[in-house]
């Protein structure tokens, strides 16, 4: 399979990398793990004249906790880096599990969390759980840096608010009150299959009362979406199976799925009901994030 010609740059500093992106404009693309960019280039879905590699920006692979800020995940951390990170395993096992269950081992060793976000594929597996946990992304460009809540970052399939000269450097998970969280994916096979439906849930439980909840749906709208009416239905109530069923039905009503080769819109909507219920149940029962 032919990979078209392009120039290659591997800058050793962020300002240099942003400078190259500014200089080439729309003719340049960032390459992190390459698991999405290279298949697209081979299939002639994109043809950048230059690739700007992040491989020499090793500070972007760190995952650590910073007092008063929260957990910082470097954008170039791979899915297996996330799955095996002691810091994440302690605080947010749900993120480790989401990373561990996607793609296959070879892709998890190369594919990065930054690439998974910037791709903005509606079925991407990491954004739902990151949004549920209140993640904020840091973008660095030639004009300085800014932060954007991940929930507001996506603007359509394949589209985000990132600017041409910006690089996603960090995903920040501020300390938050959730007592439990989880991401549940429904794919057509266990390995290497994209989500037909993905549901992330995070809850604050006080006894059997649900004080707060977030429900994020993946693969059933142009961007990952919060099921806010379903969240409201749950808040402040004593949790029963009957209530979770009602919340599931409500979330299904909020989804806007399409029909494609992996499932019809009708089927997807019903799977939103089922997986919202299951994800909430798991987040409530497990008692950890």
């Amino acid at each position: 399979m032919y990979l078209p010609d392009f120039e290659y740059y591997a800058p050793s500093s962020l300002p240099e990398a942003c400078g190259l992106l500014a200089q080439f404009g729309a003719r340049a693309k960032v390459i992190a793990g390459g698991t999405d960019a290279l298949p697209k280039m081979k299939q002639e879905l994109m043809a950048p004249e230059a690739l700007v590699s992040l491989k020499n920006l090793s500070q972007l692979t760190n995952i650590f906790y910073e007092q008063e800020k929260g957990i910082i995940i470097g954008s170039r951390a791979t899915h297996n880096d996330l799955a095996n990170s002691p810091v994440l395993q302690e605080k947010y096992l749900s993120i480790c599990e989401a990373a561990h269950h996607m793609a296959n081992n070879q892709v998890r060793n190369r594919g990065t969390v930054g690439g998974n976000i910037i791709n903005a594929v509606p079925s991407a597996d990491l954004p739902p759980i990151l949004i549920a946990l209140g993640a904020i992304v840091k973008l660095v460009g030639t004009g300085g840096e800014r932060t954007v809540p991940l929930e507001e970052f996506f603007s359509g399939p394949g589209k985000t608010v990132i600017k041409q000269d910006e690089i996603l450097t960090e995903i920040i998970l501020p300390d938050q009150p959730f007592t439990g969280s989880t991401y549940m994916k429904f794919g057509l096979r266990r390995s290497g299959a994209l989500a037909v439906v993905g549901v992330a849930a995070a809850v604050v439980m006080d006894g059997d009362i649900c004080k707060d909840a977030r429900i994020v749906l993946g693969a059933v709208a142009p961007v990952p979406i919060r099921a806010k009416k379903a969240e409201e239905l749950l808040k402040g109530k004593s949790v029963t199976d009957g209530l979770l069923e009602e919340v599931g039905v409500c979330a299904a009503g909020e989804s806007k799925p399409i029909s494609d080769i992996r499932g019809s819109a009708e089927y997807r909507r019903d799977m939103v009901r089922v997986f919202t219920k299951r994800a909430l149940k798991k987040a409530i029962q497990e008692g950890h994030c």
Partner: protein, 164 residues
């Protein structure tokens, strides 16, 4: 990394990779994949190409001890790194235990998936010498085999682990 521009304005890059213990320096275009570098520059044709899109795993090699699809890695991205291919497993003409075990358990039919399959299994046994059947299946989930139905492959990996 040094870039060299020829008379036609085409850029090439000087890279050095350690492959199976030997160091190789070559001047390549940026669009050379690691799979093509191994097969065409170094004549190491044990690494196979199937889908070239990351789906089949037949091009699996170890990059600094971790299995990756070499069709989805640019040779320039692997500059300065260590690569192990199927050719690097046998020592002094003696096959690796895993290779022996694939032969003894009839885990090879057409053989096209075998090099990639063995590299994924090798990475697993390096980090987890006594895996469960579930862990073996998980480790080779990115390697497709159209012939065997996987049963003998899983058996071969478990048998090689028992022997260690």
């Amino acid at each position: 990394m040094q870039a060299i521009t020829d008379n036609n304005g085409v850029k090439r890059y000087l890279i050095t990779l350690n492959v199976n213990g030997d160091s190789y320096s070559r001047v390549v275009k940026a669009n050379t994949t690691l799979a093509n570098f191994l097969r065409e520059e170094l004549d190491l044709t044990g690494t196979k190409k199937g889908c070239e899109l990351g789906d089949c795993g037949s091009c699996t090699v170890l990059l600094d001890d971790k299995p990756v699809d070499s069709c989805l890695v640019l040779a320039v991205e692997a500059d300065g790194r260590h690569i192990t291919t199927i050719e690097g497993l046998a020592q002094h003409e003696k096959l690796d235990k895993l290779q022996e075990s694939f032969v003894n358990n009839a885990a090879v039919q057409c053989g096209y998936c075998t090099p990639g399959m063995i590299m994924s299994a090798k990475a697993l046994l390096n980090r987890n010498p006594h895996p469960s059947e579930q862990e073996v299946r998980e480790a080779i989930a990115g390697n497709l085999c159209r012939c065997t139905g996987y049963v003998n492959i899983v058996k071969a990996v478990l048998a090689a682990a028992d022997e260690q």
